[in-house]
Symmetry: D2
Subunit: 134 residues, 4 copies
Amino acid sequence: MLNRTILVGRLTKDPELRYTPNSGVAVTTFILAVDRSFTNRQGEREADFIPIVVWRKQAENCANYLKKGSLIGVDGRIQTRNYEANDGQRRYVTEIVAENVRFLDSKPRQDGGKSNQGNDFSEVGYEVDEDVPF
Amino acid sequence: MLNRTILVGRLTKDPELRYTPNSGVAVTTFILAVDRSFTNRQGEREADFIPIVVWRKQAENCANYLKKGSLIGVDGRIQTRNYEANDGQRRYVTEIVAENVRFLDSKPRQDGGKSNQGNDFSEVGYEVDEDVPF
Amino acid sequence: MLNRTILVGRLTKDPELRYTPNSGVAVTTFILAVDRSFTNRQGEREADFIPIVVWRKQAENCANYLKKGSLIGVDGRIQTRNYEANDGQRRYVTEIVAENVRFLDSKPRQDGGKSNQGNDFSEVGYEVDEDVPF
Amino acid sequence: MLNRTILVGRLTKDPELRYTPNSGVAVTTFILAVDRSFTNRQGEREADFIPIVVWRKQAENCANYLKKGSLIGVDGRIQTRNYEANDGQRRYVTEIVAENVRFLDSKPRQDGGKSNQGNDFSEVGYEVDEDVPF
DNA sequence: TTTT
DNA sequence: TTTT
């Protein structure tokens, strides 16, 4: 069906890069703090703390370019998993698998936009450089 | 910042309607099964099971019109909470607070769209019935 | 940056399948009618009529499985183009490039969900069938 | 049905604030340049140029705090309109009605998040400060 | 009519 | 604890 999440927020800590034991695929994880747009009863602005998972090249870009406090945009999907905890109980996990991560701590680029500061997701293109549908 | 989730899926069970103890506000909860668009290593299509929370009038509409297996669209935001579990440990919960729920198994409407089959969220309108910006 | 649109609505007419002149890539176009969730001053429910473009295999699936009135979900991005009109003026076009189309006229599937009724976008998988990040 | 668009991009010019002739409601418009995440055949990064409409208090905030080049996040819905052009032809317009605008070039806040730098959308709260659904 |  |  459809499953889409878009977030803008800041990393609560430096990202953690690991590699899967079998295939050696890069995977980076971190928690994103997303300020709410409304305040609570005490007039305080709270935040949601959302676990993010990034795979492959983007995982390495995130590990290289991001740190605690970095502002990013995430476009991804919700994933749920469950596992057996140490106490024998089933534990349920919800996290966002990021398909596109944008770095937003914008010191404006010096190159007029040709490079992309680690935002290198050119493999995910749907472009056909031709023709005009409507 | 930004926090937006859109889902289309089916209820795993009948929705549960309750009222908050102090203010008596209606709140309905259910789990949404969202089929993935890709298959796993065994060629099987898996799903994510995502907790949904709906408040107020929409909570009552959901309780009245939805049941196990109903197909719906959800437009909302991710919320995280944590609480102390019985074993003294902190437990983390991630759920979607639905701001808009659309009922989708329904036959095309016979009334030309005047009624809205329980999808009554007219209070959330941004419409200004006047003028043309661009 | 980020550019994401999610829609649920019905085709206003049968979809149109064409092929690009040079590369012969399949492209399907149609207009999606998306009912608004609020009513206008006259208490009528209006709709937005949004041009959709679908490429490649999904274009052919759409042409094969959809028709006027079909209910679908679209996950894509906004694209703007401009061209010189017959009168010599520049004309501006905004349309949604669908990256994922879901067929929602649910006659429940008979196969327990193994097949996918033309919703075959398995090439867009980010899955790594291994490991547990958090 | 569902209609949701999320964008992150930069204003191509200073925003324009007007007031509707009858009700005197504030409305601000601007074009958002959204860089694509992929490059074209020539290896250049292109952008989409998307018309944004903001109403009421947020319109005034945008006019006060934004200018050409400002980086923002937009959460809104697509709206289509048509009108008769001077040449007697029907012209079709697609634009994003912003329900939530986030200002993103801003330095991390010094006040621990109490204020909100013109991002004052507290009227759109769904919060019930009580109870734990799941 | 396009931002960085 | 999972829908079709």
